[in-house]
């Protein structure tokens, strides 16, 4: 050592150790503790897996719901179209339809062509319908006691007429005020102006409805001329392409929207469904029931019989009216529709919440509990680890480690464990969620698999794991950093 002439000992500030170096130091030490700390990691894995299952399930379920709803819409397309063209809707139906049209301009375009109203008029009308539906929803979702107080026994449009009465309005406002849990969907002013304009609105709607009814009547006359005694559906199936196209053009000229693609789709679907209906009717006749029993030596319900359509004996029984391909199509359709119906039922039960939140309140509560357990477990394990390593920590302090360095070491270690545990938990959760949904819903899980959303869930879950672990490490790390270097002098 050189002898210097200046001060022997000077005091300065310790050099700041870069994050990278701290991380490397931490990781070097972790290798030896990894096995022992696997218990801590198990806790993280379980909590993260649980959270991941919650998230992924919800995401998959909403995706499948939407897919199923889409498929249902396709299945219902023919019946909806036929009803739309052949039946004049009621005032409330019109109102609902126009309310939806605010987001769907094709409905408005059709309405313009059919009724002859200008675009501006239709748009204004649509907004009013939307308001009407919002207020109606507000009143119908209210609890019955409060509703009775506010609007007596009025329902539907009567509500607005009732509220328009001068004495009732101020009364209504004063009764509404103390009801803290109820909030008007719009300003009071908006409701008042809506009420003021309600009579005019009703007149407009009546005019709209009448015009529509006229057009429906006109279409009916046109169609009757072509279709005769059959039903429209049967005629569409039996007639030629050209005839159907010609009819379509006439429909459009009256104002209703019906493009080529839609017509083709509808006709295809009708073919299969009408064939199915006819076969079902045939199989129900006493003659057929007897024949079935003679051929198969057993009697089963209609649903079961339908599943054996492609059996050659059945083809023969049906008098070879239908080709094998047609029967295969019908069978496929029957199976598909049954599966879809099951899914629809399930979707109804577990339905998407209108508020659009990914997870419901109860599930969040469960997830929070899982996290709490995780944090407590990690804190406990880390405190034990700090206690065991007191010599090491104190020695390091004697060698010049700052409090901050020690703190960072422990927090980084916890973070790393959170990362590992989070990754493992995420994978476990993903697998469990997919399996669960496969069992519950079947293949639609894969057809409608929302890859992007699941990816986001995965990242969220892993980050949760890391954050949890680091949060849990705060107290133990702080207590480790406060350890006195004197402890290193202790002789065990």
């Amino acid at each position: 050592m050189t002898v210097k002439n200046e001060r022997i000992i000077d005091v300065g500030r310790p050099k700041k150790i870069s994050f990278e170096k701290s991380l490397k130091f931490c990781l070097k030490g972790i290798k030896h503790r990894l096995l022992r700390s696997s218990l801590t990691q198990m806790v993280v894995v379980m909590a993260v897996a649980f959270f991941m299952v919650l998230l992924t399930e919800s995401v998959i379920q909403s995706s499948v719901s939407r897919g199923v709803q889409g498929e249902s819409a396709t299945v219902r397309e023919p019946s909806l179209l036929l009803a739309h063209l052949q039946r004049a809707p009621s005032l409330s139906d019109h109102s609902k339809r126009l309310a939806d049209s605010v987001e769907n301009s094709s409905i408005q375009e059709e309405a313009m062509r059919v009724t002859g109203f200008s675009q501006a008029k239709i748009e204004a009308l649509a907004l009013r319908c939307e308001a009407e539906q919002t207020y109606l929803r507000f009143f119908s979702e209210m609890r019955i006691g409060k509703r009775r107080i506010l609007i007596k026994k009025n329902k539907g449009g009567e509500i607005f007429a009732y509220l328009s009465l001068p004495t009732v309005w101020s009364d209504f406002l004063s009764k509404l005020e103390p009801m803290r849990s109820l909030k008007l969907p719009t300003d009071e002013k908006d409701l008042k102006s809506f009420l003021d304009g309600y009579p005019q609105f009703q007149n407009d709607m009546k005019a709209f409805s009448d015009l529509w009814k006229n057009k429906v009547g006109e279409l009916e006359r046109v169609t009757l001329g072509k279709v005769g005694k059959q039903s429209l559906a049967e005629w569409l199936v039996a007639t030629t392409e050209d005839e159907a196209s010609a009819w379509r053009v006439q429909v459009e000229s009256i104002g209703f929207s019906l493009d080529e693609a839609k017509l083709t789709r509808v006709r295809e679907l009708l073919k299969t469904t009408i064939a199915r209906d006819q076969i079902e009717m045939k199989l129900r006749t006493t003659e057929m029931v007897k024949k079935w029993r003679e051929t198969f030596f057993s009697s089963s319900p209609l649903d079961a019989k339908m599943l054996r359509l492609t059996d050659p004996k059945v083809v023969e029984m049906l008098g070879s009216t239908y080709s094998k391909e047609e029967l295969e199509k019908v069978l496929a359709w029957v199976k598909y529709e049954r599966g879809l119906r099951k899914l629809e039922k399930w979707v109804d039960l577990n339905g998407e919440s209108k508020s659009g939140s990914i997870i419901g309140g109860r599930k969040i509560f469960l997830a929070l509990i899982a996290f709490l357990v995780c944090v407590v477990g990690i804190t406990n394990a880390m405190l034990m680890s700090v206690t065991e390593r007191f010599m090491e920590i104190a020695t390091m302090k004697c060698l010049g480690a700052t409090d901050g360095f020690i703190l960072k070491q422990f927090v980084l270690e916890a973070g790393f464990q959170g990362l590992l545990g989070g990754l493992m938990g995420m994978i476990v959760g993903l697998v469990v969620a997919i399996l669960k949904n496969l069992i519950q819903l079947g293949t639609p899980t894969l057809t409608y698999f929302p890859t992007f959303h699941v990816f986001v869930c995965a990242i969220t879950a892993v980050i949760c794991g890391i954050v949890l672990a680091m949060l849990a490490a705060i107290y133990p790390s702080w207590s480790a950093s406060r350890m006195a270097p004197m402890e290193a002098m202790r002789v065990e």
């Binding site: 050592m1 001060r7 000992i9 005091v11 700041k16 302090k397 010049g400 004197m486």
Partner: protein
């Protein structure tokens, strides 16, 4: 000749000065006086032994000098800087670069190799990795363990571990070396080797060494011996004034 503080202090610089250091612990109504007012100067290039029976306050005083503990009253000055005035970061700096510690239980990190253990203080001093390795190897050579640089503490004997610890304490070229019973866990022969090593460090490199010890073999190699009795300094002696009688233990020389 007997110890004369004034004579002894001529031509020497003071490294550590304890002035009126008292330490009391209160447990409820009882007060334990660990140190009852100690005044001491430690000079540059000295080799001091602090000796005393258990419970005499030897360890407490030792901690005071090393900046590990603060006195209840009185001051400890390290090169005219009052240790009690320093904040945690400055103390960390001191411990890293100016004070070296050698512990009774070696206190090596069992997961790191010898070289890594030795260069650990350099990490805290922010030294680059290559320089770390270089200086680390040099230090290991100095203590005679250059061929064991990649071994873990478990693979070394007690004496070798202590030598690694000494190398570690010297790595940042500190001004003082504090040794807390460095040979207590070692056998007599290895203990002598350690004493020899410390002696060489003191004489060749001019390291100021302060040892707290029970081991009478240390008395030969040090300069001054401070006896602590019941919380205050009993007497201070020069080692040349002491005659030590020992008998050898069967077979050892």
């Amino acid at each position: 000749m007997p110890y004369d503080p004034v004579e002894y202090a001529k031509g020497r610089e003071i490294v550590v000065r304890a002035s009126g250091v008292k330490k009391e612990y209160t447990r409820g109504s009882e007060t334990v006086h660990a140190l009852r007012g100690i005044d001491l100067e430690v000079y540059r290039g000295e080799y001091i032994c602090v000796m005393g029976p258990s419970g005499s306050g030897k360890s407490t005083f030792f901690n005071m000098i090393g900046g590990l503990d603060t006195p209840t009253s009185g001051r400890v000055f390290m090169d005219e800087v009052d240790m009690a005035q320093l904040n945690a970061e400055e103390l960390a700096y001191l411990r890293c670069r100016k004070i070296g510690y050698v512990f009774q239980a070696y206190n090596l990190n069992s997961t790191m190799r010898a070289l890594d253990n030795v260069t650990l203080p350099m990490t805290f001093a922010g030294v680059h990795a290559d320089e770390c390795r270089e200086r680390g190897m040099k230090q290991l050579e100095r203590v005679g363990l250059s061929d064991r640089w990649s071994h873990r503490p478990k693979q070394m004997s007690g004496g070798q571990q202590q030598r690694v610890a000494i190398a570690r304490s010297l790595i940042n070229e500190p001004s003082i070396l504090l040794c807390d019973e460095p040979t207590a866990n070692l056998d007599i022969k290895t203990g002598k080797e350690i004493h020899q090593l410390l002696y060489n460090l003191n004489k060749d490199d001019g390291a100021t060494i302060i040892c707290a010890t029970h081991d009478y073999d240390m008395l030969e190699v040090c300069d001054r011996i401070i006896w602590i009795e019941d919380g205050s300094i009993g007497r201070i002696e020069l080692s040349e004034d002491m005659t030590i009688e020992k008998s050898s233990l069967g077979g050892e020389k």
